[in-house]
């Protein structure tokens, strides 16, 4: 009933030994986690550390979804589907957090506003 009539031979995936891949990736992820924990102690500029942490956890994220969750081996549509959600959610999160950065939007009760360096018009 399908348009995509058998392009796949039965057992086509059998030769891939996923067991090895999975174990290796788990090790890798554990190592990255260790690095992340180590990174927070380093005496570098804050922006640099933030970037490093964000990149490292993105890498972990991608490994899990592409390998453990087999997006790598699945039809691309699954990836598209998930990334629609991920992108919209990510962009919304980013927008929302940034909206609160505007001086007008800083809450009165916040430490920063109390110090009156963010909202000069309140001083």
């Amino acid at each position: 009933m399908s348009d995509h009539a058998a392009s796949t031979v039965p057992g086509a995936h059998a030769e891939e030994n996923k067991f090895q891949i999975y174990v290796q990736i788990a090790m890798l992820l554990a190592v990255i986690t260790g690095v992340e924990i180590a990174v927070i102690g380093l005496p570098f500029a804050k922006w640099l550390l933030v970037t490093v942490l964000v990149v490292l956890s993105t890498v972990k994220f991608m490994y899990v979804i592409f390998y453990f969750m087999h997006l790598r081996w699945d039809k691309a549509f699954c990836t598209i589907l998930f990334f629609i959600g991920l992108t919209i959610a990510g962009a919304t999160m980013y927008g929302l957090i940034r909206l609160f950065d505007a001086p007008e939007s800083v809450p009165l009760s916040s430490v920063a506003a109390a110090a009156a360096d963010v909202r000069p018009d309140l001083a």
């Binding site: 007008e104 018009d121 309140l122």
Partner: protein, 436 residues
């Protein structure tokens, strides 16, 4: 054909309706629902901020109207031109099965974008203009803080400090200098309110834990209607206020009068007729339609008349008695009459309440009858109001439980806390009216 007969019937009715409407208009009957010159008009405006907003509205209006006419004409033409005129027509050979035309599509998209640009440019400039006082005018600006309460407004004048008792504050009637930009900090102590004086500026919300800001300017001295524009609970509809813009001299006089402590009446005098001012008339019953705000004076003069002390009509003994009751009945818990009694902050500051044109959040005209009505049954005048039900664990007319909500007895009735006799009310009214 049924359809045709229906159509001609419709047409007949339409003609009749038009004729009727025409007659009504000609005879001056008030059917013009499109009038936009009320007290809260956003079209007949009196300040530069509201004007820029209105002008922007006109731009959007004209642009969309033109598009509407063009698109509408094409739509109407297509509908009429290609209509099947008979059932035979409906079942004729299907027309050519065309699928679209990319060039037309692109052209129309381009045209839409262009129309939007025409709207976007003035929008952007108005966003920046309405956001803050123009640089050139900044030094001239006057500062006020407005705070929303369920369901009234409090106004502080940070520039005016009263030695020993802090910032000057008043409620429900905001007095501002005319011709000067006014910067208003907006605060809320409970839920979200919104501060809106349509003739002077669009609204900005008063949000708890948020420091909002609004600027406006009144072209000339005048009396303006304001309204809370964010749903804030039971009495949102009647959370109103007034703005009085005054020339420099008059504004200064007013400030001086406000800075002074409350009057303490000790001398008696004779009564004089006061001008009536119809902001809220209780005879304004249902079914009274039409434009009916017939001031006997212009509203600003009405306000001026309220400022004058009419010492002759006062009964000093009664006023003193009122003052005692004011203390005894715990009014002082929530209200302040600076110089006399109390330091309560849960209710409006009453130091000069007699000099306002309205009470209870712009709802009632400030006349002895209305004040009495208010004191008698605050809950009936203003549903849910905090003077009756209590606020911040401070009891008003009802007794409060530990949770801060009114308690009920076995019969599920509220337990009263403050009870006033008619004599108490008479005395309180005399006292309150004397506070100018």
């Amino acid at each position: 054909m049924r359809l045709n007969s229906l159509l001609s019937t419709t047409a007949r009715w339409a003609r009749a309706a038009l004729a009727l409407a025409g007659t009504v208009l000609l005879t001056g009957c008030d059917l013009n629902f499109w009038r936009m010159d009320g007290h809260q008009s956003t079209i007949a405006v009196d300040g530069p901020v509201a004007r820029s907003q209105r002008d922007l509205f006109y731009v959007t209006c004209w642009v969309t109207l033109v598009i509407f006419i063009i698109v509408g004409s094409v739509l109407a033409y297509a509908t009429i031109k290609f209509r099947a005129r008979s059932s035979a027509d409906e079942h004729a050979e299907p027309p050519e099965q065309g699928h679209g035309n990319p060039m037309i599509e692109l052209g129309l998209i381009g045209a839409s974008v262009l129309a939007l640009v025409i709207i976007a440019i003035p929008t952007l400039s108005a966003i920046w203009y309405t956001h803050d006082v123009p640089e050139a005018d900044k030094s001239n600006a006057y500062d006020v803080t407005a705070t929303g309460y369920q369901w009234w407004f409090r106004f502080d004048y940070p520039n005016e400090q009263i030695p020993g008792s802090g910032t000057l504050n008043t409620s429900n009637e905001l007095v501002i200098p005319a011709g000067r930009p006014v910067r208003i900090q907006l605060r809320s102590v409970d839920v979200i309110h919104s501060f809106w004086i349509p003739k002077l500026a669009g609204k900005v919300d008063m949000i708890p834990n948020r420091g909002n800001f609004l600027w406006l300017k009144a072209d000339a001295p005048g009396y303006y209607w304001g309204q809370c524009a964010e749903y804030c609970g039971d009495s949102h509809a009647v959370m109103r206020f007034r703005v009085i813009a005054l020339g420099p001299k008059e504004f200064n006089d007013w400030l001086n009068q406000q800075m002074a402590p409350a009057r303490n009446v000790t001398v008696a005098g004779a009564a004089a007729a006061k001008p009536q001012f119809a902001s809220y008339r209780k005879d304004f019953k249902q079914n009274e339609r039409g434009w009916s705000d017939r001031f006997e004076l212009n509203p600003l003069d009405s306000w001026r008349a309220h400022q004058e002390v009419d010492a002759k009509g006062e009964d000093a003994a009664l006023i003193q008695q009122g003052r005692q009751i004011f203390n005894a009945k715990s009014c002082v818990n929530c209200h302040t009459v600076r110089g006399n009694d109390g330091s309560g902050i849960n209710g409006p500051n009453l130091t000069h309440v007699g000099a306002r044109t309205t009470i209870a959040g712009g709802l009632l005209e400030n006349t002895p009858e209305q004040v009495a009505r208010w004191l008698r049954h605050p809950d009936q005048v203003k549903p849910g109001n905090k003077m009756y039900y209590g606020v911040n664990k401070m009891a008003g007319y009802l007794k409060l439980g530990d949770d801060g909500f009114p308690v009920r007895d076995q019969n599920d009735n509220y337990v009263p806390n403050i009870t006033l006799t008619e004599d108490d009310i008479t005395a309180l009214v005399a006292y309150i009216s004397s506070l100018k």
